[in-house]
């Protein structure tokens, strides 16, 4: 998005927008593509639904500059606008989405109790679509320099690196998107990847290779970040030759993978070794009545289109679950 655009996060959510006495059919936690698609399907099934979001409507996709692989948009669409369209469509069927953070969840007598910033919410079922967040860079100085040159959101922070040198770490779609976006601001972009080949979609790779501002450092990992008050140098190591090299950089953007946001349920459901939520084909977790969709799950592919599909499947499963409860 352009800095001069005017963006609408939501209607003004008020406390009275949710009725504390009500037992909802579904509480959807997280308003990304998966949660919002679930909301569309739930609303159309006339299930009494509440959607809760803690920070920003639309999910992680809204920090993507441009999305070219979501069907229906042959010329591509900005992540921001796609998220906005999901929100509008969801609100058409379920009403306003509430900006409210859920602090914890418990299940008693086939009912879920959500303790939130703005009071308790009860629901027969929960669809968890809390997504993921970037994995922190494995360098000892990460904490020291986070916010002082180490960043995980190019859309947010690119402006601070105008005409500077930045290093992007990672070799997947996200890393290449970030590198290409940053090249619009920075003088020079170094892409660092630990393997000998990039993992990103071939089309993105072609775009990256054609970008004169971007240079590649393959087979390399970051080992240290140096600087006084802010990032000044990154020390990298070639994994084959074990040779170290110091590069002068002003900023470092991490894109080495995603960590699922599971704090709410980590003691309630079964997780994979990497911490993602195990789900069955119906998107149900090991706790009956608790469903999970999108990036927070163990799905083999994490894309907008797969999160949306998960959301639709989960609602169908919820309908069956509620029917069984009432039997």
């Amino acid at each position: 998005m352009n800095e001069f655009n005017l963006s609408f996060r939501s209607d003004v959510p008020r406390e009275k927008d949710f009725d504390k006495g009500v037992l909802y059919d579904i509480a959807i936690i997280g308003a990304g593509p998966g949660g919002l698609t679930a909301a569309i399907y739930a609303g159309r099934s006339r299930l009494n639904t509440i959607v809760l979001e803690k920070v920003s409507l639309g999910g992680l996709i809204i920090v993507s500059d441009w999305v070219e692989n979501f069907p229906g948009f042959p010329d591509g669409i900005s992540g921001e606008e796609l998220g906005e369209r999901f929100r509008k469509q969801a609100e058409k069927f379920v009403g306003k989405i509430i900006l409210n953070e859920v602090m914890n969840i418990r299940k008693e007598n086939n009912q879920f109790y959500l303790n939130t910033e703005k009071g308790e919410i009860r629901a027969k079922s929960v669809i968890l679509s809390t997504g993921s967040e970037p994995v922190k860079l494995p360098v000892p100085e990460e904490e020291k320099f986070r916010g002082k040159g180490i960043s995980y959101c190019a859309t947010c922070d690119a402006a601070f690196f105008k005409d500077k040198t930045v290093c992007v770490i990672g070799g997947g779609d996200t890393a290449l998107h970030e590198a290409i976006y940053l090249s619009k601001f920075a003088r020079r972009v170094i892409l660092l990847h630990r393997r000998s080949e990039l993992r990103a979609a071939k089309m993105l790779q072609e775009e990256l290779f054609a970008n004169p501002k971007v240079e590649l450092k393959l087979n390399s990992i970051p080992v240290n970040v140096l600087g006084d008050k802010k990032v000044e140098e990154i020390v990298i190591e070639n994994v084959q030759t074990h040779q170290k090299e110091a590069l002068q950089v002003d900023g470092i953007f991490g894109a080495i993978g995603e960590k699922p946001n599971i704090d709410l349920v980590k003691n309630l459901v079964e997780l994979t070794e990497k911490g993602f939520i195990k789900t069955d084909v119906n998107k149900e977790t090991s706790l009956k009545g608790l469903f999970a969709v999108g990036d927070v799950t163990d799905a083999p592919l994490k894309q907008v289109v797969t999160a949306c599909a998960d959301g639709a499947i989960a609602v169908t499963s919820v309908e069956q679950y509620i029917k069984n409860l009432e039997r």
């Binding site: 005017l6 963006s7 996060r9």
Partner: protein, 227 residues
């Protein structure tokens, strides 16, 4: 200048104001005079947008009044203006303490709409426990929230600072558009947004929950949290 709000967005905002505004709200905008000393090629391009946004918003409800001061040093002193442009949202629960330095555009456009509604209603939707803890603060607190218009996590931090300000007149809730004020951004080493600086000493980054935010204010005041 071409209108910034599209027609259907205008309809949306007009409806939002119709349904939610109660008491009058005044937007007080401080700009530099045409050709004034404090204008440079850099900030001039932003000022016209800020002025346009304020004008378009205030045209959408008769309960919103817009006052613009250009180069009025006396008034700037009265409001404690620290930089240009500055936009204050004034109503019965504020006291020149809900401020935007720079454009409220991009994702911050929704912050200003929500602020106007809160100020007009004279109440925020912070939960009772947080409200009470905010009201108990008895010394001056200045919260700077650095943002960029393209940051979707920033409105949460801006709104929390502004809502705290609405609950307690000793709290000054200040949004700073980091691109527009490079000296401030440099002074406080802003390389990531949202970045929050409280009383120039406690700093943190990210859109945190209201109680964590409040903790940091207590920390800046040297008080052990008791709420």
């Amino acid at each position: 200048m071409e209108k910034l709000l599209k027609e259907n967005d205008e309809t949306y905002v007009r409806q939002l104001f119709e349904q939610n505004l109660k008491d009058p709200v005044e937007l007080v905008l401080f700009l530099e005079k045409d050709g004034g000393d404090r204008l440079n090629q850099f900030n001039e391009q932003y000022h016209q947008y800020t002025e346009e946004i304020a004008k378009e918003i205030s045209a959408l409800s008769d309960r919103i009044k817009l006052t613009i001061y250009k180069g009025d040093l006396e008034k700037e002193k009265e409001y404690g203006v620290k930089n240009i442009s500055a936009l204050f949202i004034e109503g019965k629960n504020t006291s020149k303490n809900v401020v935007y330095y720079g454009m409220p555009s991009g994702h911050e456009f929704s912050s200003i709409l929500e602020d106007i509604v809160d100020v007009s209603k004279g109440e925020t939707d912070l939960n009772a426990k947080i409200k009470e803890a905010v009201k108990r603060i008895s010394s001056n607190v200045e919260i700077f929230v650095f943002v960029t218009p393209t940051c979707p996590y920033c409105p949460k931090a801006v709104r929390t600072a502004h809502q705290f300000a609405m609950e307690n007149k000793l709290i000054n809730g200040v949004m700073v558009e980091a691109n527009e004020f490079p000296e401030w951004s440099e002074k406080y080493s802003v390389y990531t947004v949202p970045k929050i600086v409280i009383n120039k000493k406690v700093q943190f980054e990210g859109a945190v929950s209201e109680d964590v935010f409040l903790n940091s204010i207590y920390e800046a005041l040297g008080i052990k949290l008791t709420f």
